[in-house]
């Protein structure tokens, strides 16, 4: 489990609003509703959803808890299928040769080539299993903070969309501008000074 491993990479989010109803129940409902499907959709290139921390391959939040002390902890799982270009090339070539032999023709049209490629891609996507990637999500609700245990841009984007949908709360990524806006104790006047500031220019 990456969360408990020796080193971690983390991006941090601020959560602006809070829940009106019971926090625990609302989080449980959001996790269960947007848990990753148990059965893999063979036609889907990408499948995303939440899974419990203790059972990343069994998305059952009834069996496993997401509450650890005052923290919520669960995984974002991203299952992705990717067909290597060389494999597509090989199968397109085989299929093209088969059709030429069957029809007795010497060449195939551009449209037919595109059709073959599409069919091959469809078939390979169905046959190839998806590869799961797992990222921990640590939520300190009292501090309006969520830590996502990755700094990969694609995973961050998937997380932001899924979190908003699941809990109806917008996670705001914390970097210098949003830190000033959302987390600093600066007065509005001081914020204005910061926003009109130029680089410090320590060398000049």
């Amino acid at each position: 489990m990456g969360f408990l491993s020796a080193t971690s990479s983390i991006s941090r989010y601020h959560i602006d609003d809070s829940f009106e109803d019971s926090v625990m129940e609302t989080v449980r409902d959001g996790l269960a509703e947007y848990a990753i499907p148990k059965i893999e959709n063979e036609y889907s290139e990408l499948s995303v959803g939440w899974v419990p921390f203790e059972s990343p391959y069994d998305p059952d939040f009834e069996k496993n808890s997401f509450v650890f002390g005052t923290f919520f902890l669960f995984h974002l799982r991203v299952d992705k299928k990717s067909v290597p270009a060389k494999l597509v090339k090989k199968h397109v070539s085989i299929e093209t040769a088969r059709r030429l032999e069957k029809s007795g023709r010497e060449f195939i049209s551009k449209n037919e080539k595109a059709e073959i490629k599409e069919e091959v891609l469809d078939r390979l996507l169905r046959e190839i299993p998806s590869v799961p990637n797992i990222y921990e999500v640590l939520w300190n609700y009292e501090k309006s903070t969520v830590y996502l245990y990755t700094t990969q841009k694609a995973a961050n984007e998937i997380f932001e969309t899924l979190f908003s949908k699941s809990f109806n709360l917008k996670p705001i990524r914390l970097f210098p501008y949003t830190m000033v806006e959302k987390r600093s104790s600066l007065s509005d006047k001081k914020k204005d000074i910061i926003y009109n500031t130029a680089p410090a220019g320590y060398s000049r």
Binding site: T7, F68, M179, L186, K190, T197, P199, Y202
Partner: protein, 181 residues
Amino acid sequence: MLDISTGYNKYKFIGNDFLTWIWYLAENDLNLLSLTGADYKNLTLEIGNSLVLENDKKKDAREKITIKGDKAGLEEGLTALKKGAVVTEINLLLTLDEDEFKFTIKGESFNVTGLKTPSSKGSQDTGSDELEGSVIEKAYFCDRVFDVLDILFNTYMERRASESFRSEDVKKIKSWIESYN
């Protein structure tokens, strides 16, 4: 509030300036507790084993300087600062009370990578209780690191918004950079 991506790009220099300030604090052994007013028994920062600087003052190309290795070649970094580079990434050793943390922070995103927290203090429990204990401990360590970063960033922002920022803070940092030959 600005659009997120506009805010990110427009003010990423603040993060880089902040890291340069952190470097200055660490190298000059300043008392972080009195500077920040933080409520810890002990709070110290040391530069770890890597530092990345960038200089985009040159018209044709952006120069990137990466310094790696324990306590190695930080003078190269100071030379780069002198030429107008800014710190974009820094590896830090943070001592907080009795706990030691090591991590790299990036100026523009505040992403933390390679975070190493103190080893688990262990537990007499077994099974799920042990797991819960380890999770809570790790989560607590993570919170602590970011709490300190928040305190330091807030202190820097307060300084930066003060009237004396250029006449005092920037002047001191410039003197430190210039003091290296």
